[in-house]
Amino acid sequence: MNLREIVRFEFVYQARRVRTWLCFAILLAVAYLVTRGNAEDAARAGGTLVNAPYGIAVTTVIANVLWVLIATAVAGQAAARDVQTRMHPLIYSMPVSKADYLGGRFLAALGINAMILLAVPAGMLLALFVPRVDSALLGPFRPAAYLSAYVLMAVPTAFAATAIQFSLAALARRAAVSYLGSVFLLVAVSMGAGIVANVLRQPTLGKLLDPLGYITVVGLLSKAWSSSEKNTVLVALEGSMLANRLVWIGIGLAVLAFTYQRFRFGDPAARPRAKRAMRRRETPIEARDARP
């Protein structure tokens, strides 16, 4: 009961924020513009279809990179808003278990992020119809292409990234610290994986480490696949892609478990007041006696 109430309250709270819908609008616009760009290329050069499954996967991955940057505050706020608004003494003294509290806030943040990421398929579809794309450039409409990109590419990435952002903010008790997680994912891990794959020539390891699936989809498949493959084959959950998703879901779970272990319902305002106590001792009694 508590878990459901915590998820509900947090989800509703964030769903009412302008920031949430701003993120949604930005991703919608980006997915729309990328797809329109693809349409122009396709019209000029030919070869790939505007709604090719491969194009959908690439657009999803690119939008995911952007999402990691702009939607960090969703997880950060869910984890640290209580401390930052100083409401934590009220809620920490309530009969709520740590699992319900952290789990509820995390699931709500993941839900909001999953909702924001729905802007990507929405934007891609919108681009096909507003204005209408020449039907010669379109393949058959395949819902599975959008669904697999969302479920296999976007959501597992969102799970791992939200877990890392949420945990950093919860343990640091500051929402802004979640940005470190985003920067870490994008710069250290993504670039590291790229270096491993391309410079050290360990593509298998590189693909495994890549948190967003960027290397697999944008880097390696773009060369490996022919135009007709790109037009027809869905990025499937098998081989290195399956291993990569499992690795990152595992990392996400491990980070959450660590956070559950370390988190305490303590009062971070309970800092010792050393300076004040020292000063008080030096104050003459006449001054102190003015009023109790």
Binding site: L90, P95, P272, D289
Partner: protein
Amino acid sequence: MELHIRGVSKTYSNGVQALKDVTLTIPAGMYGLLGPNGAGKSTLMRILATLQEPDHGSVRLGEIDVLSQKDAIRQTLGYLPQEFGVYPKVRAEELLEHFAVLEGLVDRRARKEVVEALLRRTNLWDVRKQKLGGYSGGMRQRFGVAVALLGNPKLMIVDEPTAGLDPAERVRFLNLLSELGETSVVLLSTHIVEDVSELCTRMAIIDEGEILLEAEPLRAIDDLRDRIWRRVIANDALSALAQEHAVISTKLFAGRTVAHVYSDTSPGPGFEPVEPTLEDVYFKTMAGRTDRRREPSKARPS
């Protein structure tokens, strides 16, 4: 139900000892914990509210071990912290409903009734649709009271509650508390003597982490009868007076200094006896301490 605090000590990592072997027995009713700022009141309150761990000691409410059975005590705890905030962008009624669910008021209709009753009792009913960010300090304080009263707590911890309230709000708030005090343990920490003298049937005075006095206010006042003397003096005559007599407090009145002196017999001409108040009890207790603390410094050349 009684709250038993036994030998509770807390030293912070920088060496400040906030609580020194605090032992108190607190029965149902209103109990005042009186002391200056920085005396350790808030540390004790946070420990009782399960938000901080003492280094030593035990705390029990009836059968419940407060320090180890945190879930059990939180079921029946109301805590109004000295400082707290709220989400600015949520309506008061909505947040109170949320807290009510967390407090275990699962049934929708019963919850609605409790929330409405609390909003009316704290005089927030007319502003229940307002966002909390627009609340004044006093309104936010009353909202905190409503949250603390959810679920009829058997243990109510109230940390410096009247500091930000205007006189009318203060009276209303103290009435709410004394209603609860008819059945529950209500522990009120304050640095305002009137809060204790108006409300509490028992009290303790704390300074620098030590309990200096545990008493019933009326009896403690009675003990000082015929022992408090008052004299109006020039502002610069205080140190001379303090040399000869046990000055427990000084106050300015119409630009002149009024000194209260503790003495078993009349300290001499110029002094008149006064009816003791709880303020005199407090200052007498604190003065006994500051004298002791001063003595080593006399030996020091200055």
